[in-house]
Amino acid sequence: MRTIALRVARYRPEDETEPTMQEYEVPLREDWAVLDGLNHIKDHLDGTLSYRWSCRMGICGSCGMTVNGEPKLTCGTFLTDYAPGPVTVEPLRNFPVVRDLVVDISDFMGKLPTVSPWIVDSEDAAPAEGEHLQTPEELDEYQQYSMCINCMLCYSACPVYGLDQDFLGPAAIALAQRYNLDSRDHGAHQRVDVLSAADGVWSCTFVGECTTACPKGVDPAGAIQRYKLTAATESVKSLLMPWGRRSDLPRPSGADQDNNAWSREVR
């Protein structure tokens, strides 16, 4: 049987201070993804290798790793595309490594609630009884940004996030835009502060690596650019109308106050 070498990054914090590489030979099968190779190692060669995976159909977002230097979903990246090998598998970059191929994404999980990623109802109108009408065209406005599986490949690819972990980052901004552009939402004003803060959209230098890395066609770079335009217009408005400063806007009731306190709670 043909085989291919997988060079896998190992890191056991209890025993090692630095990651090391370990090489394994796995069968090279036509329909095997890199993840199948890792599972072969785990089941037959070395039970101590740790990595995350679940759906193995490109939708749960667990299995992102760095494959030959690029951020990839390992369940959708095929060994034969790297033949004759070797294939290098490392954890996603720009994140602290917990163990082997497992990275710590709690930074992103903490940022998520800060962009109020939920429908904010209108303050004036009573909640809808039946369905909101939303035409296919209105759906199209935000649909692309709703496709994010939180796989973190874009954060791994983003040079800005690599230098500054406070940057809100591609997926979080795209998600904010997903709600801003949803015809049912009235919460754009609630997301302005965090999006247009120093660590928001303005940190982005428009390298576009996030969009290239994204396996779901979300185009976070486009979302960021689009928001920059909106934010520019917004800030002009607030210059002209000082009473329109957001802090003076009536805040909708709900749990949006003090999002930061909440995010610390999230574990």
């Binding site: 209890e14 749960c60 917990v98 994404i105 049912r184």
Partner: protein
């Protein structure tokens, strides 16, 4: 980063009024229900993966609920009951069909991007076994959108605390009352106990007890085993759904929506073989409850018959038939079934616009699960269950596609409310729980540090999966079942000398895999025993030695209970029939 190992014996004084195990559709919906109806209570979700990774994410086709004028609750009720071969509890189905539209509307208000008609109304599509178009969908990523909308909405409720990547290993029960749950925080290996006045199990299905399944790696039946070991009975475990169209190697699902949009199933000769199995006549366009839109049990059984006639196509991954979508055209495929095209392209390297899709039946869904009443109460005070891990039962002997997402919502919400009202008046945890927690900690530490065992987790798992396929597949017989029962007992024995090679506390996935295997062996045993004892054929449970439905003896649920010594007993409480006595299941005529 942490450099020193934590003290395994340190446990935080964690305590909540309601603890929910699982962050899929059912768990998230339950948590929001607690937050909305009982804001004074504390509530936590523990989940072995981040909630948005839960397997709900992979549901494709849609969610059923009556919304169009031509449709009626009664028709949804009838489709569900006959689809379930009359094993559904009709009071539960009545409640379900009434609540489903409200829940899907709620999801609409929470931002779920449902596909729309040109005028902006929610669009619906036909689905297998349904007499009307009533399946709401978000293209063919319904579960993904539904889960993310729920998760993101849950973030709005500051009251909901989460313990992500936290693996529950045991329910703490004292004197017939639940007092919390013990488990492991993956990142640190810390063994913790969380006290609770009510626990809701929302842990999803158990497809991984079989070798070939659409289910994710995490679907190992943990909640079923947790309840079973804590004295809660499991119900109707013999009813395992095979979905007729999985991709051959990966088991990736090609959604029933592909057939609802007009896809055909073809045998070796390009012939729409379902017409030979009392499922109607082939028409060019899809017809409700006919041919490719028949129920899943009947379609999977037809595949086996076709195989026996030598009319399937052999491949290195077993026999297959073809799903033909070519006549739908690129535009329909791209707007209604984009994920199908993506999956075929990425995982099978074919394009359904031009090529036939190879498919075979694949283990997909558990009709059975933790026995609950209509409130989700699971037979031990303070214990609740909802979603795929539970059996209410609305699915009976065969679930209809697109009924389970709304089931997660309807009964997740109901269990959340019931658990909250229980917790509001329940006393605090009993003192004896500390001793149980200490026992559990010792057990886990012993497993982690154990040296010198002989058995590998992956070997035992493979053997279990083979035994399940051999004994409890699409067609079953006494002989095969008995063999598999023996096999699983032997594997349970061998599990006692399982060997871990990984002794690390940090993100030890080998330890988790061992614990999941232990749960799966428990669940596998309950499936086999229940299948052996049910001497009739109904829905997804087909016995070659008892080929007929037997309402005299088996219009009843199988309730399997575990005795303290690991042995079991089965009882047969009657099915609740409110208004539709058992009749013939009719498709295509």
């Amino acid at each position: 980063m942490r450099t020193t190992a934590p003290d395994v014996s340190a446990s935080g004084p964690l305590s909540y009024d309601v603890v929910i195990v699982g962050g899929g559709a059912a768990g998230l919906r339950a948590a929001i229900a607690v937050a909305e109806t009982a804001p004074a209570l504390s509530v936590a979700i523990v989940s072995k993966v981040y909630p948005m990774r839960s397997h709900t994410v992979s549901a494709e086709g849609g969610a059923a609920a009556v919304i169009k004028d031509v449709d009626s609750l009664d028709e949804h009720f009838r489709d569900t009951v006959s689809g379930g071969d009359w094993l559904c509890d009709q009071d539960a189905v009545e409640f379900f069909v009434e609540e489903a539209p409200k829940e899907l509307l709620r999801l609409e208000h929470w931002g779920c991007p449902w596909s729309r008609e040109p005028d902006g109304h929610v669009a619906v599509r036909p689905f297998g076994g349904m007499k009307q178009q009533r399946t709401w969908f978000a293209a063919d990523k319904t579960g993904f959108h539904l889960l993310h909308a729920l998760f993101q909405t849950s973030l709005k409720h500051q009251q909901i605390v989460r313990h992500d990547e936290w693996f529950a290993t045991k329910l703490l029960v004292d004197d017939g009352r639940v007092g919390g749950v013990a488990g492991i925080e993956l990142a640190t290996g810390r063994i913790e106990t969380i006290a609770a006045k009510a626990v809701i199990l929302c842990t999803g299905g158990c497809g991984r007890v079989y070798p070939f399944t659409t289910n994710a790696n995490i679907k190992t039946g943990d909640g079923m085993a947790l309840a079973y070991r804590a004295g809660g009975p499991l119900k109707d475990m013999e009813f395992v759904q095979y979905h007729p169209t999985g991709l051959p190697f990966t088991g990736i699902l090609i959604t029933e929506a592909a057939r609802a949009e007009g896809g055909w199933l073809l045998n070796r000769d390009g012939y729409r073989y379902l017409q030979d199995y009392d499922l109607g006549k082939p028409e060019p366009h899809p017809v409700f409850k006919s041919m490719e839109l028949g129920p899943r049990d009947r379609l999977s059984q037809a595949f086996v018959k076709e195989m026996e006639k030598g009319r399937t196509i052999p491949t290195s991954y077993g026999p297959i038939v073809h799903l033909d979508l070519r006549h739908l055209g690129e535009q329909t495929i791209d707007t209604k079934l984009p994920f199908v095209r993506e999956l075929c392209r990425d995982y099978e390297r074919i394009d359904p616009v031009r090529e036939l899709i190879p498919v075979r039946p694949v283990v997909h869904y558990m009709m059975g699960g933790v026995h609950t009443d209509i409130d989700g109460a699971a037979g031990v005070a303070g214990l609740y269950a909802a979603g795929e891990t539970a059996c209410v039962s609305i699915n009976g002997a065969n679930r209809l596609g697109s009924n389970s997402l709304p089931e997660c919502l309807v009964f997740g919400a109901r269990a959340g409310e019931a658990a909250a009202s229980h917790a509001a008046s329940a006393p605090g945890p009993a003192a004896s729980l500390a001793a149980q927690a200490a026992d559990e900690r010792r057990r886990l530490e012993e497993l982690l540090r154990r040296d010198g065992g002989r058995e590998r987790v992956s070997t035992l798992r493979q053997e279990m999966q083979a035994a399940m396929e051999a004994g409890a597949g699409i067609y079953r017989s006494r002989d095969d079942l008995v063999k598999s029962v023996d096999r699983v007992h032997e594997l349970q024995d061998r599990f006692r000398s399982v060997r871990l090679t990984d002794h690390s506390l940090t993100f030890n996935t080998e330890l988790i895999a061992a614990l999941e295997l232990e749960f799966m062996l428990e669940v596998a045993g309950s499936i086999l025993h229940s299948a052996l004892m049910r001497e009739e054929s109904r829905g997804a449970h087909q016995r070659v030695d008892f080929p007929r439905r037997d309402d005299e003896q088996f219009l009843a649920h199988s309730l399997i209970c575990r005795n303290d010594d690991g042995s079991w007993r089965i009882e047969y409480p009657p099915v609740t029939i409110t208004r539709w006595p058992p009749g013939e299941r009719v498709y295509g005529r």
